[in-house]
């Protein structure tokens, strides 16, 4: 049976080649959408590392383009001024808040000449862990103990600890930024957090390091304030908050946003490409379904004499039906095998890095195989049924 099918398929090879090519392309498109979606699902399930609910961010905009430097008095005036508001439970300073579009990164090395570990960085003051609910798995968060430390104290995430100190305890270790004999800066690990993905649920995990904010010693001011507010604080608190901030510094402007709203807009920007690609892919599949249906219909029409002959020498209607569906199944399988052979190069060569890892690849491959098989079987059902109903006499006389 199988050999017969192969023979029949081979006899119409140029035509079948075009059909398989079409199925192959459709497979690749479904695979792309499935991989994209599954990766997002995988990321969504990974730990985020912080609690964004009931946290508001205030961007301080002095309108000086970063020239003026904040000193301890500035930070303290905000801390004291805002602590008086009953809604505010905690105030922390950083330069890059969660769900922000900006990043700061550097190439870290264990010592000069060793392998570089690309790391995202943020300045953080002593209160940030409490405000964001960071989960420390080793060591401690920054505190007064770090005053006057020779190296800059940092808290890193576990991913970075594993990248920088594989198989070792990260606590107390040193690393440097930059290369060359005289590195600009040395850092000492005082704590390790479980995870920290500042770009939100749908962003890939990165190596992350918090550097302790010490006014005057930093390259960057921490111009973002994060406020832990009382649960259920409504948006109209913003006006009173703004009025209070203006009392503290009248000539500066402040941009206030709950983290929940930055989260919503971040997720929107991240999912829009998926939605657009998904819609277009949906249209493409619809088109492929129509095309396959039409091509199969014409195929069976042309092969009526052949089918008649088979019926005449004893094949039942179910046999014919099975033949048509099995042929289509084989065609799809050939296309899918070729498609997989091509697509498997992506995780093998690491073209998409971590985003296309094996679980995602396998999931996407299974999902797209299911879709393509379903599609081609659906397209084969009606033409097959039509062919199987032909009476042998009519079919043999068909012109």
């Amino acid at each position: 049976m199988f050999r017969h099918l192969l023979k029949l398929t081979w006899k119409r090879k140029s035509r079948n080649l075009m059909l398989s090519l079409e199925i192959l392309l459709a497979f690749a498109i479904v695979f792309a959408v499935a991989a994209f979606g599954l990766r997002y699902l995988q990321l969504y399930r990974m730990p985020l590392g912080f609690e964004g609910a009931d946290v508001w961010s205030v961007a301080i905009q002095p309108g000086d383009n970063g020239k003026q430097r904040f000193d301890d008095a500035v930070y303290d005036s905000f801390r004291r001024g805002l602590a008086e508001l009953p809604e505010v439970g905690g105030v922390a300073f950083t330069n890059i808040e969660p769900y922000s579009m900006s990043t700061m990164s550097g190439d870290m090395r264990r010592k000069a000449g060793s392998r570089e570990v690309p790391t995202e960085l943020a300045e953080a003051d002593d209160k940030l862990a409490a405000v964001l609910g960071l989960n420390l798995v080793e060591g401690r968060w920054f505190s007064q103990l770090d005053n006057g430390s020779a190296q800059r104290p940092v808290v890193i995430n576990r991913r970075m600890a594993e990248a920088m100190f594989p198989g070792e305890r990260a606590l107390g270790q040193l690393f440097i930024e930059g290369e060359g004999a005289a590195p600009a800066q040395a850092y000492r690990v005082v704590g390790v957090v479980d995870a920290y993905r500042a770009k939100g649920e749908l962003a890939g995990p990165v190596n992350f390091a918090f550097m302790r904010l010490e006014a005057g010693k930093n390259d960057n001011d921490a111009r973002i304030m994060l406020l832990k507010v009382r649960a259920g604080t409504a948006r109209d608190f913003e006006r009173r908050l703004n009025a209070r901030l203006k009392l503290i510094r009248n000539d500066w402007s402040f941009q206030i946003a709950p983290l929940s709203s930055s989260r919503a807009s971040m997720i929107r920007t991240q999912t829009v490409p998926l939605i657009v690609i998904g819609i277009i892919a949906g249209f493409m599949l619809l088109m492929v379904a129509f095309g396959l249906f039409g091509a199969l219909w014409q195929n069976t029409t042309q092969r009526i004499p052949e089918i008649g002959l088979r019926r005449a020498i004893g094949a039942g209607a179910a046999d014919i039906y099975r033949q048509i569906v099995a042929e289509q199944f084989m065609l799809s399988s050939i296309a899918i095998v070729f498609g997989l052979a091509l697509l498997v190069q992506l995780p093998l060569t690491g073209a998409f890095g971590e985003s296309l890892n094996w679980p995602v690849f396998l999931g996407a491959a299974l999902l797209s195989m299911a879709v393509i098989y379903l599609l081609s079987l659906l397209c084969a059902v009606y033409p097959g049924w039509r062919a199987s109903r032909l009476s042998p006499t009519e079919a043999l006389h068909y012109e």
């Binding site: 901030l245 500066w252 088109m287 129509f290 095309g291 219909w297």
Partner: protein, 415 residues
Amino acid sequence: MFRNYLLTAWKVFMRRKLFTAINLLCIVLTLVVLMVIASLLETAFRPSGVEGKSERFLQVFMVRMESPGGNRVSNTPLGYKLIEKYLKPMPGVERVAAVTLPSSVSVYQGPNVSELKLRRADADYWKVLDFTLLAGRLPTAADDAAGRMIAVLNASSARRLFPGAPKAALGQRIDVGGQVFEVVGVVEDAMHLNAYADIWAPISTFASSDYRKELTGMFTALVLADSAADLPRIRDEVARISRSVVHDDPKAWKTMRFWADGKLDLFSRILTNSGETPDSGAGKVLATIAVAMLLFMLLPALNLVNLNTGRILERRSEIGVRKAFGATSRQLAVQFVVENVLLCLAGGLIALAATAGVLAWLESAGLIPYLRVDLNLAVFGWGMLIATVFGLLSGVLPAWKMSRLDPVHALKGAV
């Protein structure tokens, strides 16, 4: 001759209505996607609506600074000082406008907080762009000089803040991030690179006047020329000016480079990140878009090829007769390609109507705020061009196969 082609084509299309419908549907689906993209690009880059003068203005959007060692590079928007001191005095231009990029601000009204996009613009901005004024007036140079706290709203925001006719908003006071502005004008919604915002205020309403001393900041400059022919000269002039600018801190930043670009150039420059050369990479971007569109057509074209191959075999007796009476393979191939292109053009017309529907949906769904796309003649032309390319792409292979049929076998009905 051509009439005969048309007649045959019509007969063939009507003979198998289901397949014609499937064919058409595939063509329409493909063309709708491509036409939506084409019309969005057309609206973005052709002078239209509020940026109707964009054929004769250039803009300076980014400054690229390099450190003396060349190891650090910074790309930032312009500062007001750069525009006021270096660009505004430029000779031979109609005017130079300064406007900030849109930034999020909160507008407080009692217990309500609305988040709006604010731009601060000088009086020239209103002369460079053609906003449609619905009520009130636009800020003038006198307002700038006096530092009056006035604001212009767009129609949607005016309706949201002050329900009713646009006039209802005039004279009202709004608290924007702690600063109180008086609404003096309401303009129509506009979605364009330099027009997109909800609320506009004069530059002089900044809480502190530090912006006047900065070479980099958050401004963009619009340079309006007297005529489109002046643009190359202005480009050179701006490039010359950029070489003469010295940073306030020459130890940190040695060179400052900026370019005056048209809209397409600007977009390409940002996309290809080519800040150091006069060439914006627009050619490369256009080529990429064309290639992407062709690639997108690949699957639908293959689909159509498969459908068409089947149809040809159905017509083999017709082909046999025509060959027996002396038609050459080439004539047959041309006939088939013409038929296919005709079908695609018909599909293109339907797709154009569907595109109008999709765009209307996009406008109402608010996926892109204030989007207004008009389907003009240019979009129609692009649509037909895309349809023809698609018809050729999907018709040539079946036509070649058809022309190779052996007349004897074709007449007998055997393949």
